[in-house]
Symmetry: D2
Subunit: 279 residues, 4 copies
Amino acid sequence: MAAVQPKKKISLALRQDGQPDSLVHITPEVCFGGEKLVLIGGPCAVENLQQIIETAQAVVQAGAVMLRGGAWKPRTSPYDFQGLKEEGLELLVQAREATGLPIVTEVLDPRDVDKVAQVADMLQIGSRSVQNFPLLREVGSTQKPVLLKRGMMTTVDEWLAAAEYILAAGNKNVVLCERGIRTFDTTLRNTLDVGAVAVLKHKTHLPVIVDPSHAAGDFRYVTALAKAAVAAGADGLLVETHCHPSDALSDAGQSLTPQQFSELTAGCRAVATAVGRTL
Amino acid sequence: MAAVQPKKKISLALRQDGQPDSLVHITPEVCFGGEKLVLIGGPCAVENLQQIIETAQAVVQAGAVMLRGGAWKPRTSPYDFQGLKEEGLELLVQAREATGLPIVTEVLDPRDVDKVAQVADMLQIGSRSVQNFPLLREVGSTQKPVLLKRGMMTTVDEWLAAAEYILAAGNKNVVLCERGIRTFDTTLRNTLDVGAVAVLKHKTHLPVIVDPSHAAGDFRYVTALAKAAVAAGADGLLVETHCHPSDALSDAGQSLTPQQFSELTAGCRAVATAVGRTL
Amino acid sequence: MAAVQPKKKISLALRQDGQPDSLVHITPEVCFGGEKLVLIGGPCAVENLQQIIETAQAVVQAGAVMLRGGAWKPRTSPYDFQGLKEEGLELLVQAREATGLPIVTEVLDPRDVDKVAQVADMLQIGSRSVQNFPLLREVGSTQKPVLLKRGMMTTVDEWLAAAEYILAAGNKNVVLCERGIRTFDTTLRNTLDVGAVAVLKHKTHLPVIVDPSHAAGDFRYVTALAKAAVAAGADGLLVETHCHPSDALSDAGQSLTPQQFSELTAGCRAVATAVGRTL
Amino acid sequence: MAAVQPKKKISLALRQDGQPDSLVHITPEVCFGGEKLVLIGGPCAVENLQQIIETAQAVVQAGAVMLRGGAWKPRTSPYDFQGLKEEGLELLVQAREATGLPIVTEVLDPRDVDKVAQVADMLQIGSRSVQNFPLLREVGSTQKPVLLKRGMMTTVDEWLAAAEYILAAGNKNVVLCERGIRTFDTTLRNTLDVGAVAVLKHKTHLPVIVDPSHAAGDFRYVTALAKAAVAAGADGLLVETHCHPSDALSDAGQSLTPQQFSELTAGCRAVATAVGRTL
């Protein structure tokens, strides 16, 4: 008969009595969990060199300190654009060189983790992968910072248990990202759960950021959700931005123009100040 | 054969092109929908004279401009405290006289509407009554301002249709109150839907306020949710406060002490300023 | 200070150790909770004499032992057909006289309970009224059998607590009706919760029936859901039927024709036999 | 610029006009989608040789034609029993040799697909993996029959799109398995969606089976849900069974004893007959 592991409780992800907020450093300048919020901008998917460079330059100008962009895209239909893959990674590198912004990009397949980790500054685990345990273990075996998005159907405790997979594998650099949950109400694409942000700031020492773009699914409401997130205590924001949203190959409806992104930054900066933070 | 009404669309509750925010006046000083947010404090239920007077004095001191308190309480179990009813109304009147705060209280039964409307400054329709159509018509037949809470599983469009019942009956003084929806996640009592606030500020001209207390169900998270609501554009807050929360006959766990309520006020005032409002 | 009622637990609605199924008698021939399932047919709303008589005759022919039909209709929009009210009641009486079928019809307003109870054989409390406590107390003060539908957002325990309001008021004749709950999936109008039927047959002695029509919202799936309900242990079925569904003033899409209703009856009878019941 | 794939619609998973049910053959005797339902029994996890052999012998005796058993287990916590992995596969092979039952077992990691496909008769994609697209593509590249479970918050259309990933990769042998969805009601572990079974029998030509064990999470309700599934049109059942449920390393509460499994078989056989099928 096989040996069975002893029962152990989730612990690494939980804040112990008096434990301070953990800091997750990306570069000497960019750090999650401190007094300064981390603003990440960029497109849903990397589409071509001009798009990613132009968007990166726009977001850095508007105050972003990090660039997002998908090279591998998880899509509901096999016939939708699946991302530029390795070529997308290379374009992200060029955008980093052009702007100095560190990059975060999604990894979907455990077999791609090494490849992506060699290039990206932070690995994103997407909503649909939050309980992809082989993938969690694989990113846990690197020392790259991991952005762990909440699943559409994941409770706060399940999410923390998913983080524990990464932490238990030896990687302490985990940042949680609330992005809206699935509920009966389809007025917006998802329901942003700002309460989860408040709860997590009590329950865990890990940084918690918010993606208002996927929650809203509609550019008109992204800024209001972003401000709410900052007010609730989020440590950063992940905002979809596109130099020409109407041309975007995915998530066109929720991407902000550079101008809208600038307004979001200004609005969120004021709210950040009101809650004793900076941005 | 009976005549059938012609099909008509929801319209009175919707913002027409260019229509400004509606103002709902309670007293010359208290008005929903303007630049100044309306802060309502008070206990879940009116319990006795000392409790309601003491709490009312505490909330007015902390910045509240209106007093809440339940005289008729909708309770899941028939064996739970159902409120002091008429006696509760009288105690609310005494609290109003002692503090000058206008009062909002729930009405559950269409047969009680006249009685409550003669006393209260604003009638609350609770979450479980949002689609109690006879009750909506009854409060619509008065000119008393109505605070219409969202049901735990009411879509934004159903909620606006419920408001339309009141408006179509001739009462233009409707204020909407988001209070959390029911979802798969039970980390908090309900999931505060700040996105609904943002959507409603586009869709309707009616004022929209937020009840962070019922959404959280836990005093530790009420202030964070309140700040998020203000940041998302809410026109006011309804906050459960109790002079001695641990003695409360209902909702003990989510009631703020006067001291906590003061801190909430200060925190929300800063966020209000950040989004161009006052409190 | 006011006297506070002592805390008591829900008990009348719960099956005590060894307690047999309760029987709710409507007429000497029609009884809920016994070996024979109760099949109720009829239109969403009573529309005119010909419609209700023709439909009643069709459903009795197809095996129904009881007639449903709404005289007061709870509608999301104030501009939708609200029912024929008192005139609808009179038409139901004529249909009963023509067919011998006892009638069940919804009551929405506590002020209408006496009026409806004088005419109907069973009072229906609709989904939106499941936690309308004044209404529950009012039907509890009669001895008329009550069909208590589950709300779209009601847990099994909240539903039993709603039944307790009626039982505690002195009316022992309560039948529960599962009709689908609201979930994230909108493929069908609601999600029929057959598991709740199975759980209730353990937890309560009260009869439990199922309304597959509102759950499906689409006539093509009503029979499959009805069979599933019978297989799961339901004590009866409430099925929307219309002599000319395409002309129905409400719920046209989910109403069965008399022919389809006959097929449902035959199909469910076979399943009933398979689980040791009759229909 | 990279080439973008043309937009195509989900089609392979959908039933075209007049298209008959697809048959998915496992062995010459076991086939999904025909008149005879496929009954699968076995434990949540393979634990040791005696447990899997004893359980396999019990389920074959009770009418099962296929054996389930997890070698790789997706667990919420990294500290829970994760399965015997390769050793578990070997034990399944021994159980197959001892009983003649073909085996279905879960594969979690795309890197394990070849290894598992060499041994198992059918590959299970678990609920948490329903949108694990690299894994779907990988099992799609084999010709092994795939049991694709619905996710806890997957809509019917998303589920069919997930099946399309496998079909589009060249593997036509897909069987869908409804296993309960996540809703606001936590009375049972999940809410079995029998309506989805009815809808799928219209929308797709693929076989659809039901797992009543995970939906119920409680052995007392498994048989009622199984009967409901058969009545709604399911093409088979996947039922957790354990020779000694109280000793099970996972899912103890929902596993049936061999005796209970025999009763389920008898009950479902009667219902199958009632709906014109055999079991």
